[in-house]
């Protein structure tokens, strides 16, 4: 018999000690109570069988011991279920709860076919996951829902993928500062819906973060000196982003409703992330709003005084159109290049090169709507917040209005739970809005992704509490059943 092991003479070589340590490690496959009873005995057999020439356990031996340990543990588990059913049920409930609460989610599956607006966009939900956890894919809509003024009304930035995946744009929610009063910060969907640019309202080193909605990747680009960065216009090809960089922190609610930013204009190259100042002839010192022409060759800019100037991005002379109501955002330029939409109490128009100008589209005496984009050469898409009689809408419709005939057609709508969760800042990519035909009756199944982290933690805590309750309840039930059986056996 070899004499090896801790506290004993090892003889001429230490290989026996190493082998013993290896066997002891393998025997840890068995539960502790089993090892207390069997380890020394099994070790003796293993070492005796190994003889004096072996230095390490063989693979077959290792597998055999691992399977042996698994068998004992499985038997222990079955015994535990029989003897402590409450605890076993609790563990099962807890495991299932944790699995549901903490299981990772993959990215949304791209939907088939073209990106089109569904007849109904998703309504408000606390269970909507974050775009950063599982990106929604190419977007068909982006909007803010909730304004923090109603019961349990927390503002969300909601991005809806073409596949039906709906996510909170957590990037815009997290970059919101105190000035937004809980609203998401500035966000602007690219014309093809694959990216969203997110600004910042108060930062000593302002930047713009562009998130790819298919991959979830975020790239930040510094915009130079300033205190805020507000993305205001994408070029039609999505290659360039115009950013307004104010010298003071931007307060979107300071003064007028929907007060726009004012600052120097910076162009971001979407491919490289590089920033450069807008310096073509006629560029105003400060810019408040802008929109690219459909061919991307011109840029309509509006200074804080309201004057609109058409800049030639190829370096040609600028052309002033004069003062106007605020430009209606990145999508203001009509697809035929003839009109610019403006937005004040009504949706108005500017003729870029002369010609007839349609009448302002009024929301009605008590109504309120926001410009979304162009649905056709003479048709604008409007998000109706309040109906003409002053009622807050549920669902909140997006309508296409023919600016010549006044004819209206509903494109889609967002449920607002009896106006508890109002919708605003709704954006639809130009490629989706300009798609042929009305809202397509696509097969649409809403996927809200993995729950947000606080909800997941709450669910895990709830699972733990449910597990405790299950343990107590199961034990009581089993005790009752056994007592009942014993009583019947005694009387029978």
């Amino acid at each position: 018999m070899r004499r090896t092991g801790p506290g004993r003479a090892h003889g001429a070589r230490d290989d026996g000690g190493a082998l013993e340590r290896s066997y002891r490690r393998l025997l840890r496959c068995y539960p502790a109570h089993y090892r207390r009873q069997r380890e020394e005995e099994m070790l003796a057999v293993l070492l005796q069988r190994a003889g004096s020439n072996r230095r390490r356990p063989g693979l077959t031996e290792a597998v055999d011991l691992a399977l042996g340990g698994a068998r004992v543990r499985w038997r222990d588990a079955l015994t535990a279920i029989r003897t402590r059913p409450g605890r076993a049920a609790a563990v099962a409930v807890l495991a299932m709860g944790l699995l549901v609460a903490l299981a990772p989610a993959g990215p949304a599956v791209p939907g088939p076919g073209a990106a089109v607006l569904p007849p109904r966009l998703p309504g408000y939900s606390y269970l909507t996951g974050n775009a950063s956890d599982s990106p929604p894919g190419r977007a068909v809509a982006l909007y803010q829902q909730g304004f923090g003024v109603e019961f349990m009304d927390f503002p969300h930035a909601v991005v809806v993928g073409a596949s039906g995946a709906v996510r909170r744009l957590d990037l815009a929610e997290h970059r919101a500062g105190a000035a937004t009063q809980g609203d998401p910060t500035a966000m602007l969907l690219s014309p093809d819906g694959t990216r969203v640019a997110v600004g910042v309202y108060d930062d000593a080193h302002p930047d713009v973060a562009v998130q790819h909605l298919v991959t979830g990747v975020v790239r930040s680009s510094a915009v130079g000196p300033g205190r805020a960065a507000v993305p205001v216009a994408w070029s039609p090809d999505g290659g360039t982003l115009l950013v307004v960089v104010p010298t003071e922190p931007h307060d979107p609610y300071g003064g007028l409703v929907a007060a726009g930013p004012r600052g120097r204009a910076v162009l971001l190259d979407a491919a490289t992330g590089g920033a450069r100042p807008l310096e073509v002839p006629g560029t105003p010192h400060q810019v408040a709003a802008a929109a690219f022409s459909p061919d991307g060759a011109h840029l309509a800019v509006q200074d804080p005084g309201g004057t609109v100037t058409i800049l030639d991005l190829r370096g040609g002379p600028a052309r002033a159109l004069g003062p106007a109501a605020p430009l209606a955002g990145s999508a203001a330029w009509s697809p035929d290049g003839a009109l610019l939409a403006t937005e004040a109490t009504c949706t108005g128009f500017l003729a870029v090169s002369g010609g007839p100008v349609p009448a302002c589209v009024h929301p009605g005496p008590g109504g309120w709507h926001e410009f979304v984009g162009w649905h056709g050469p003479r048709s604008v898409a409007l998000s109706v917040i309040r109906s003409p009689d002053g009622q807050e809408t549920d669902p909140s419709p997006v309508v296409a209005v023919d600016v010549v005939s006044g004819q209206r057609q509903e494109l889609t709508a967002v449920p607002t739970a009896d106006a508890n969760y109002q919708v605003a800042r709704l954006q639809v990519p130009a490629a989706v809005l300009g798609a042929e035909g009305p809202a397509a009756p696509v097969a649409w199944e809403i996927d809200r992704g993995r729950w947000p982290l606080p909800l997941r933690l709450a669910a895990a805590a709830a699972a733990a509490m449910l597990a405790l309750a299950t343990a107590a309840g199961t034990d009581r039930l089993v005790r009752w059943a056994r007592a009942h059986r014993a009583a019947r056996a005694a009387t029978g």
Binding site: R3, R8, M42, A44, R49, E61, L65
Partner: protein, 111 residues
């Protein structure tokens, strides 16, 4: 009473090894290798899985413990019910083997 279900192969072999008298774990393994002319080589984990099962069913018992060379040796022996179960299983196998041989003989006969 032990159940009358069929014995698994490791259990049958371990009972067979113990039929000659009490043995410790390594002794059982060596005996099985000798009995099978080296064709059966149980792993230590498998052996103790079988011993656990047989002990639970009351077919084997601990005979004694010894310390040899500062290592623990635990000897096992066949219980009375273990001997009955082994005898029944051996008879069953013998009967099956006999049936197989008879049928083989019937085939070979006409050939």
């Amino acid at each position: 009473m032990p159940s009358r279900r069929r014995l698994q192969e490791p259990s049958f072999l371990v009972l067979t090894a113990l039929a000659s008298g009490p043995q410790h774990g390594y002794g059982i393994l060596k005996d099985l290798e000798t009995l099978s002319a080296g064709s059966v080589r149980l792993g230590v984990g498998t052996l103790y899985g079988a011993l656990d099962r047989l002990a639970r069913e009351g077919l084997v018992e601990i005979d004694r413990e010894e310390v040899v060379g500062s290592r623990l040796r635990r000897y096992y022996r066949l219980s009375a019910s273990g001997a009955r179960v082994l005898a029944a299983e051996a008879a069953r196998r013998q009967e099956q083997a006999g049936t197989a041989l008879r049928r083989l003989g019937a085939i070979r006969g006409p050939a």
